[in-house]
Amino acid sequence: MLPTFTYIKPTTLDQAVRELATPGARACSGGTDLLGCLRDRVFTAEKLVSLNGLTELRGVTELANGGLRIGALTTLTEVATHALIGAKYQVLAAAAAAAASPQLRNQGTIGGNICQRPRCWYYRGDFACARKGGDICFAKEGENQLHAIFGGDVCVMVHPSDTAPALMALDASVRLVGPRGTRTVPMGEFFVLPSKDHTRETVVEPGELVTELVLPPPPALAVSTYRKLRARGAWDFAITGAAVALGLRGKKIESARVVLSGVAPVPWRVEAAEKELVGHELSDALIERAAQRASANATPLSGNAYKVALVRGAVAEALSDLRDKG
């Protein structure tokens, strides 16, 4: 049985923001992450504010500039199967399709997916870990085979989202609304490293709400893909993943984004690998060099050095896939 809470389903964004501003209130859309956390007593909620009455936050619309607006309540299934996303932003369609299970994709939303809480077993379990206000990151000395090889500090969780690295590779922005109005945050500034604040994963303030994701128009000739490595063939979180987006002129790479999943507390952009790619044509040698760059500077823990090789493999496979497509 879940702990008790009150429930309200606002029909306007203003009402939702007002309700979320009250202490102990939490937003609920798909609920697939929230209900699990409440059931496992990871955190509490006095009031659930259902966003599902806010129909304007659902769906995908093309923007005049050629970009795309994705409402935060758009389900992962809708993102994975949307024709425009599949045609212009393949990395996002692929990442949404690779997330969770069919049922969870039917239920879970893109806004919730980028705001989901850590899957670290200490965080989800009965441990007063650093992220929950304690003093210790248990994973550092304990079981850490699935944990961070980049960006760890007082906490070595990995960010569990597949769509977040894809959105970051597409230079997307997040629209937020809160008691003090609306603001737009680039995906590159949306996530918070533990060294800055280890008690939060995103810049979303209490009472604030993700309303939409905005994708800029892709380069004239663009290819992108997501390679996800996991312990089973389906329905699992990424052990390591690579979201790669390239802008091309002929065969020459003019712009590159390489963002890793499953290896850091935030979606991990590797600019060194991007720099290696820009100005060149994809060749075996270039792919090898970029993959090498992506895994450089990793600081594995006692049980996850294998992830360094996985990063190389995921990036190389993603780039090889794009070479075959291009």
């Binding site: 879940l2 809470f5 009150t6 429930y7 609920g31 697939t32 329905w235």
Partner: protein, 210 residues
């Protein structure tokens, strides 16, 4: 394709196997008032957390008016309030698929869905697939292909397959494997389950059957 569930919440004869085995608790079943169609209850201001909220659920072609606590999940309401015990609670955290139902034709874990949130949607459970005593082609295919062993996961497997076939009437084997990937079978009947789904797909295509 429409929801059939013409029988009452306790099965065709008004008595389910569970209902026969256990004394029907008058409170739960009787609280579900079947009949008059009421509009979806608008949610007012939050009340005391444990105070039941009146809701209307549309399950297998019937409307149920009942009062639930906000924290009650759809699986618990289906089973404990409506007597629809076909859907199984397995992990109760969205990790096994035994509780799979359809919401507006799409598969969903009823353990990760609040009953209050299921309002306004068409809910189909395993009890809604058969037409009286006549099993659907999909259910028959599970029997013919011996697609289960202990049977605990079977209602969820069947509902996942139903959701898959409604979206994709001609799935490839890869489509089937992916479409069924949100349901675990501890007995490992996967090969038989995949065959059953493909058999049902071809039967449905051939006969236009449900």
């Amino acid at each position: 394709m429409s929801d059939r569930g013409k029988q009452g919440p306790c099965g065709p004869q008004g008595v389910s196997r569970r209902g026969f085995l256990t004394t029907v608790s008058s409170s739960a079943a009787a609280a579900a008032v079947v009949g008059a169609v009421a509009p979806t209850v608008a949610e007012a201001a939050p009340r005391d957390a444990s105070e039941p909220t009146p809701i209307v659920l549309h399950v297998n072609g019937r409307k149920y008016r009942l009062a639930v606590e906000p924290r009650e999940t759809l699986i618990s309401v289906l089973r404990e309030r409506l007597g629809l015990t076909g859907s199984k609670p397995g992990c109760e955290r969205g990790e096994c698929g035994a509780c799979t139902v359809l919401l507006d034709g799409s598969t969903r874990y009823s353990c990760m869905t609040l009953a209050v949130e299921a309002q306004g949607h068409i809910i189909t459970t395993i009890e809604g697939l058969a037409d009286g005593e006549e099993l659907s082609e999909l259910q028959k295919a599970f029997i013919h292909e011996d697609a289960y062993q202990c049977g605990f996961c079977t209602p969820g497997q069947v509902m996942a397959a139903e959701g898959l076939l409604r979206k994709n009437p001609a799935p490839t084997m890869d489509d089937v494997r992916l479409g069924m990937s949100g349901n675990l079978c501890r007995c490992g009947a996967y090969g038989h389950i995949f065959k059953a789904v493909q058999k049902a797909a071809s039967t449905r295509r051939a006969g236009g059957a449900k």
